[in-house]
Symmetry: C2
Subunit: 505 residues, 2 copies
């Protein structure tokens, strides 16, 4: 993923940064002038910062604290453009470590930016104010998979694909399926309330989080929710932390809901002459009472690129491609896929491929992944925006994308989760390092987001706000929305210790 958008950053610091902390910044919750260790290009010689780092080492154990250049570099960035080094990296191994870090950070007013697998797309875990990059990657234990209760208990650093595999081993399933499934962590999924194709039928990450252990900004440990599938005890704290991008607390452990694994699935891959016909087919499928597990649409630009990569026999002529997946009992799936094939024919599909085995289904998902690679083949820089529109606006969105293309000269590739209107809209930019191009690209993004908001859409469906969408957050939330966000942030993290510098600053 090489989505890039320039954001004004403090000057990049390449050396290990040490700190001076003013006396009054040592009050609980207080912060030094730059929010943390003072921004010095040369290592400080004062006793204070060295003592502080030493104290951190003492508190959590030296083996878990690193200022090695490679660790600092890795923890400076995610899959997005922005980069800023932390002053120090802590590799937490358990909740006590996280508590120790937060107690320390709270006491000295040091920023803490939590990080899971670091594969976010919006700069969410870039430690923009320096301080501590708190990695939960070592907290990767699956503590329990319990079919009798329909739950799994996992540490935040567990890779989502590993959780899914563990659930499937006992015949159950963890449905959310972000594209980065095999490398992202459940903690990161919780921070961004991650989605994926199957969320059309099964819902996003939030729908699968039953309970959380959270370390609060001052080091208190909160347990909220639990291992039951329904719970109305108080406010929805589990929901508040899910999607809060590390700004309200640090999730250390999660109880997730599992579902009985649907024993069968089948898929259709259809090519349509026009995008509008494919979008109408999406409506036709849903209006006929079908709720597929996935409904993925791809536009003509992407298909043209894919045709170059894959050959015309796998992708015949047509300006839109639609993937339909259904799952359930084997006999049910067999009869439903037949109905759907007939329906797609009536709805104008020019060619339909049917997949009824696991292998054939994987083949279609592989084709879908090839669409992404095809865009990469173009050599252009892909600005991947996970915007969402009301489903009735799919055709208008693609028409707007074409207009944007004509008016800016920047190609726009649209593909994604048609069923829920979450269309990845990719601005394909040549020579992104050229300032003029970049300016034009940013202008195009601004037009895109403004159009989306004007049409009842959302600027992010599953990636989060982070730094990438920050320029549009005011427009998206409105003044009152922002005020409420700030009031909640102040209530949970009055010292602005947790992931500072992000969308509320």
């Amino acid at each position: 993923m090489d989505s890039r958008l320039p954001v004004k950053l403090p000057p990049k610091r390449h050396t290990l940064i040490r700190s001076t902390v003013a006396g009054d910044a040592r009050r609980p919750g207080a912060q030094g002038p730059t929010g943390a260790f003072t921004d010095l290009e040369t290592p400080a010689t004062e006793a204070t910062p060295a003592r502080l780092i030493d104290e951190l080492r003492e508190r959590v154990g030296a083996a878990k604290v690193s200022q090695r250049e490679d660790d600092i570099a890795v923890h400076s960035t995610d899959k997005w453009y922005a980069s800023h080094p932390p002053d120090v990296v802590v590799f937490a191994e358990n909740t006590d470590d996280v508590v120790a870090v937060m107690a320390f950070a709270h006491e000295y007013g040091v920023p803490v930016t939590t990080r899971g697998a670091g594969v976010g797309y919006v700069g969410g875990c870039v430690p923009l104010k320096g301080g501590i990059a708190l990695s939960l990657a070592r907290m990767n234990r699956i503590l329990e998979v319990n079919a009798a209760d329909g739950v799994a208990v996992v540490q935040a650093g567990v890779i989502t694909g590993d959780l899914q595999a563990a659930a499937r081993e006992v015949g159950w399933d963890y449905p959310p399926d972000p594209a980065s499934l095999k490398e992202c962590s459940i903690g990161g999924n919780i921070a961004t309330n991650a989605g994926g194709p199957r969320c059309l039928k099964y819902g996003v990450t939030r729908n699968y989080i039953l309970g959380l252990e959270v370390v609060l900004a001052d080091g208190r440990v909160l347990k909220c929710g639990g291992r039951v599938h329904k719970n109305k005890t108080g406010f929805d704290l589990v929901g508040l932390f899910t999607g809060s991008e590390g700004m309200l607390g640090i999730v250390t452990t999660a109880v997730v809901r599992l579902i009985p694994r649907p024993p069968a699935r089948a898929m259709l891959a259809a090519v349509f002459p026009e995008f509008a016909t494919a979008a109408a087919a999406v409506q036709g499928i849903l209006n006929s009472g079908h709720l597929p597990s996935a409904l993925e649409i791809t536009d003509g630009f992407t298909l043209a690129a894919a045709r170059k990569r894959l050959g015309a026999d796998r992708l015949p002529d047509g300006n839109a491609h639609l993937i339909v997946e259904v799952d359930g009992r084997p006999r049910a799936v067999a009869s439903e896929i037949e109905e759907l094939e007939e329906l797609l024919g009536k709805l104008g599909a020019a060619r339909i491929d049917r997949a009824e085995t696991e292998e054939a289904c994987e083949g279609i998902w592989q084709l879908r992944r090839e669409f992404s690679y095809s865009l990469r083949d173009t050599g252009l820089t892909k600005l991947n925006e996970d915007i969402v529109v009301p489903r009735s606006k799919l055709v208008e969105l693609v028409e707007f994308a074409r207009q944007l293309e004509r008016e800016t000269g920047i190609s726009v590739a649209c593909f994604g989760h048609a069923g829920d209107g979450n269309i990845h809209t990719n601005l394909m930019v040549a020579d992104y390092d050229d300032p003029a191009t970049r300016k034009k690209a940013n202008g195009a993004l601004d037009r895109l987001f403004t159009w989306v908001l004007d049409h009842g859409g959302a600027i992010t469906g599953e990636h989060g706000v982070g730094m990438a969408k920050k320029p549009w957050i005011h427009q998206a939330l409105g003044a009152t929305g922002l005020e409420v966000h700030r009031a909640l942030k102040e209530a949970m993290d009055p010292g602005d210790t947790l992931n500072p510098g992000k969308f509320l600053d």
Copy 2:
């Protein structure tokens, strides 16, 4: 519903109560000594209170403001035991009215307790501190049902059953199905994050709320979420307000998610010799990869009562009853119900009735409702507790209920949503007005909730905390959980204007 638990209330006031508001209580957000209009048994003669009520009339319109004795009486209570009169009732007809009420309440420090249809089971809308009972019952317009976007837009006072009917008229569905569907309002469902039998497959109210218009404690209007099916723009404010029992803001309008209506359903009703066998069948069904739309279990005590009412031919001998509903495409449903019937036979069902038409399915749901009526036939007072246990603890819960029965002499009837462990556990109390009986019943409830919490359960799955569960909220949330709740409440409603006196006081 006659669930009753005594709670220490301020002395009941039977007359229209007028207020005196001290000068310093007029600061924005401040409150008088009793939280509102001072508690006087005789109408006050001072100019201030009359002027305040007059001002309220002026601000929202006299036709919407009532101090009539019958209005006061109706708005003093819900389906639970507790009662406390408001000083005045306001019937809001639109968001502007709600804004006007909250601006007034904020200015003068007057408590506001919002009310939908008033059919809650936990005293949640009892205006415990007097002040204004704000009825949203007149805000009952379905503003939009939009199949193309898969949403409906409704005012908070819309009856949930009306919303469901409107969705079904266009071939779509609103799945949450609380038992009080035909009389409860969507606003009340949002306040309590209501559930129902079909929530096993389809999820609770929260899973269907996409966007909210909320009037905040100081009268600001917040719009959060929207009409898109996926949205990661900022924190999950929609989730925070959903289930917040009127304590964080007043929901005036909601955008709800609709799903394509499953065109068919079928059901099985099975009698088992023992509860443990039926509970094992629940696990067996889920472990075989079935995800029914409902899985309802009923214990021996309830069945015995039902047998008296319905006759032994409809309910042959057996200590447990299980209802299984599946829905989907007609052919899929037909084949799945066959599989399930075979499975239930293998899992020890003594008798299985199959329903494959709408009428036959409704017959089974009617039978299920008869179970409730049968308990009423006993002449005992039913203390209906919507506790939840991890699904593996179903048998232990019923064994504990039997033990409680033996040790207290109070019969315990268990039935409910077996699939998600949300079992309505009803203490059947004779002569509830007798103080000694009441004390014993409260002792039994205390043992029940303590057992549930000790076994990883929750004290409420779908009714909410309100006043009924307040005595156990500390135990349920823990000290840190309560602190976080209070911090959020303080952030959103610093003057404690919204529904004061409830579980955080």
